[in-house]
Amino acid sequence: MELTAWIADRLRDRKDVVSQKIERGDFVCTVYYLTDGIDLEMLQSHVLRPLLRPYYGTAEERLSDIFNHKSFFTAVYTLAPAPESALAGLLEGQALLCLPGQTTGLLFPFQNRAKRSVGTTENEKTVRGPKESFVEDVWTNLSLIRQRTKSDKLVVDEFAIGSESRTVVLLLYMDGNCAPELAESIRTKLLAIRAERVPGSSFIEEALDDQLASPFPKMLNTERPDVAASSLFEGRVVLLVEGTPNSLIAPATLQSFLQSAEDYYQRYFFSSWVRMLRYLFFFVSLVLPSAYVAITTFHPEMLPYALLISIASSRDIVPFPAILEAFMMEVAFEVLREAGQRIPSTLGQTISIVGAIVIGEAAVQAGIVSAPMVIIVALTGISSFVVPHFSMTLAIRFLRFALLLVSALFGLLGLLVGIFFVYIHLLSIDSFGTPYLSPVVPYRAKAMKDTAGRFPWTSWMRRSP
């Protein structure tokens, strides 16, 4: 069947598909493209003009001229021998040229994609260091990475995932730096995805995760091309997913979620100090409310007398048990945070301030909540944002509630057992074969220079051979 007829049959009554006939004598070609999806000027000058030029020969001669004489069109194009691939190209936004009596179509990549220009980072800001951030377009993102990795070792694999959405996923790694098994296993998993559509990179992240029962994320996502590029050098794999301005990095360990790009751009004294603070407050945000509830309800002996006086006196008129108080405040904080995120940005600031004042000040004044609890919850809330990667913050938030529950039921013993369960869980999981707690467990002395703190670059960075 002739391609023109096949396409006309498949795309009948599609209002967004433009078909344009080009007649030169009895030689009639058809160009298909999507409305507003194409650079018409390119089409004019590189396809229509050559076809409309006077030609002195038969239709057969002309056809062979087009197929054999490669520079007939002054633009790059690909041949689509099968009608399905021609249709796929058309739906991707390319211009499809059908020649009379032929089953092979010519695809011209004149897409006029709607895309955002490269902006500045929104969620992983740094004071010093690059400000560029990824956009939704994978090819732009690829070029952002390329600018930082001008090496012939960079391997880029392309996948189209989703039977209908045909989302482009790029798999990047450095040949030689990256373990071949790692790249291979991710490739296999990507190929195994059977889905109609890919809503975003989080879908890929979930599809590649073997341990979905864990709250901990197994892949790092970043909007910073510099982070992605340095991950490549460290031997990791980067996935770019069309339509998501976040790249995925695998494998990711707990420690990598606690590193921020800023650490590498500031002087190492400061970076090391901040990193240690971050580790401390990561733990604080996990256990502080639970420890407070456990100590005040089970083991008040642990409090120094002067502190006990303050706590007991401010708790005295509070009508709720400590656990309920903590739970209410934690939930209120979560709601505030969630609301602050959803409210249009122009209103967000106001709402969160009002919320904080209402919950903090008024509740204490009214004697519904004790002041120490407000301090505890606020400190916990703030310290959870010390973790630079939001996906880890979410995991911690969730675990906090579980720990709060066990410590309210069983006191410090419950809290300890709870922490041990979390620890055992962390020991049991891995990210694409890398133990989640590495390089601490199993211990790798070499990697500690970028884990315990941030030692000077020269002491640990790989040198050129």
Partner: protein, 394 residues
């Protein structure tokens, strides 16, 4: 046949068995702060009929003002509750019954023993302290020459709670501090002797206060022999006790400088430390206590030339003699009562077991007779502040 347990089941079983220790604790031991009342001071007396009277000073959280919301109420943020009984537990039960909250002992910091109770014997108190797990072992114990509960009348001018006042006396080493564990140790390991720092109560006219102030300060320490208070040290001897057993961070001494017309010198002794050792010669044991201190001169009323080393040495000698006298006086009092107040019997018991065995028939007599203390005091005057004295001829 071997029983095959499915792995999922095994996992659940493992998880459950790991969670078993949680049953050791649980909701039943949970108590909100609002349901507890905290004892800060325990006062123990003996009535004339021979009953034990236990008074506990409780913190009243609802009367404590914290932070900036400082409404000056005249209500005291503490309350004293008493109960009487044949022993401590019964007396305690009497007042717990009438309280709307559970009594929590974990924050008790001070125990004050009334004179009559102390002279009748501390053994029941020590038994109570060691049997109940609720107490900390670092509770300061004081002696009061009178009814201990009378002390609760004090107006704690400088601190929010009277307990703080007493605790600070011990903490700042204004009196020789004794913690409950030291008494327990003496009772269980040695002869049950020791000493207790004393408190007093009196009126003080303080012009800035509208009413007359009930003031509690330091009183001479009490000597304990076999768990009973038998005598009181004098004020000087009390200082000696302090020098003998505690690391004193800072204290001031005023001494006359020997020599005609040399006048007085006051020095601040910084970080007084001591080390004790024993040596045996025949059946006699000498307990050697080395006392070391650094001193800063604070005032001097003397024509002494402070630029000369021998003048400095003179002041040092005067201080050393004074310290030695005080320590010796304290030791003398204890020996006179045949009391092992400073636990020196340990040096014999562990150092010379054969001697210990030999003495075991009449321990106290032998300890008093054959163990003699020696004091070696060194004071180093490190700073005179100013080399010229006010009385030096210019």
């Amino acid at each position: 046949m071997r029983l095959v347990i499915p792995s999922a089941l095994r996992r659940i079983a493992l998880g459950l068995s790991a969670a078993l220790p949680l049953l050791l604790s649980g909701c039943w031991s949970k108590q909100e702060l609002n349901d507890r009342s905290f004892v800060s001071t325990l006062m123990i007396d003996r009535t004339e009929e021979g009953l034990t009277e236990v008074s506990a000073m409780f913190l009243l959280p609802n009367r404590v003002t914290t932070g900036l919301s400082n409404s000056t109420t005249n209500q005291k943020p503490y309350a004293l509750v008493s109960g009487r009984g044949r022993d401590i537990a019964e007396a305690f039960q009497r007042f717990q019954r009438d309280l709307p909250r559970y009594v929590t002992w974990g924050h008790m910091q001070v125990i004050i023993v009334g004179d009559r109770y102390a002279r009748a014997g501390l053994a029941p108190l020590l038994d109570f302290l060691v049997r109940m797990p609720d107490f900390r072992l670092r509770v300061y114990v004081f002696h009061f020459a009178g009814e201990a509960r009378e002390l609760s009348k004090i107006s704690s001018l400088f601190e929010r709670f009277p307990t703080e006042v007493w605790r600070e006396f011990a903490h700042m080493k204004q009196a020789p501090p004794v913690q409950s564990r030291e008494l327990l140790y003496a009772q269980w390991n040695n002869l049950g002797d020791g000493y207790l720092p004393g408190l007093n109560l009196g009126h003080k006219d303080i012009p800035t206060e509208r009413e007359r102030v009930e003031w509690s300060g330091i009183a001479p320490a009490a000597l304990i022999k076999d768990n009973k208070v038998t005598d009181l040290f004098t004020e000087e001897e009390t200082t000696g006790v302090l020098l003998l057993n505690s690391r004193v961070p800072e204290t001031v001494f005023t001494v006359p400088i020997p020599g005609p017309g040399n006048g007085l010198a006051s020095a601040r002794l910084v970080d007084v430390t001591q080390r004790t050792g024993a040596s045996r010669r025949g059946d006699r044991v000498t307990i050697r206590t080395r006392i070391r201190a650094e001193a800063d001169l604070i005032t001097i009323q003397s024509p002494l030339d402070l630029t000369k080393p021998e003048s400095i040495r003179k002041i040092e000698r005067a201080l050393e003699e004074r310290l030695g006298e005080l320590a010796a006086a304290a030791a003398r009092k204890a020996r006179a009562h045949q009391a092992d107040a400073f636990q020196w019997s340990e040096y014999v018991k562990y150092g010379y077991p054969s001697l210990w065995k030999k003495w075991s028939g009449s321990l106290r007599e032998n300890l008093a007779e054959n163990v003699s203390p020696k004091f070696d005091v060194r004071v180093h005057l490190r700073n005179t502040g100013e080399s010229r004295s006010s009385l030096t001829n210019k």
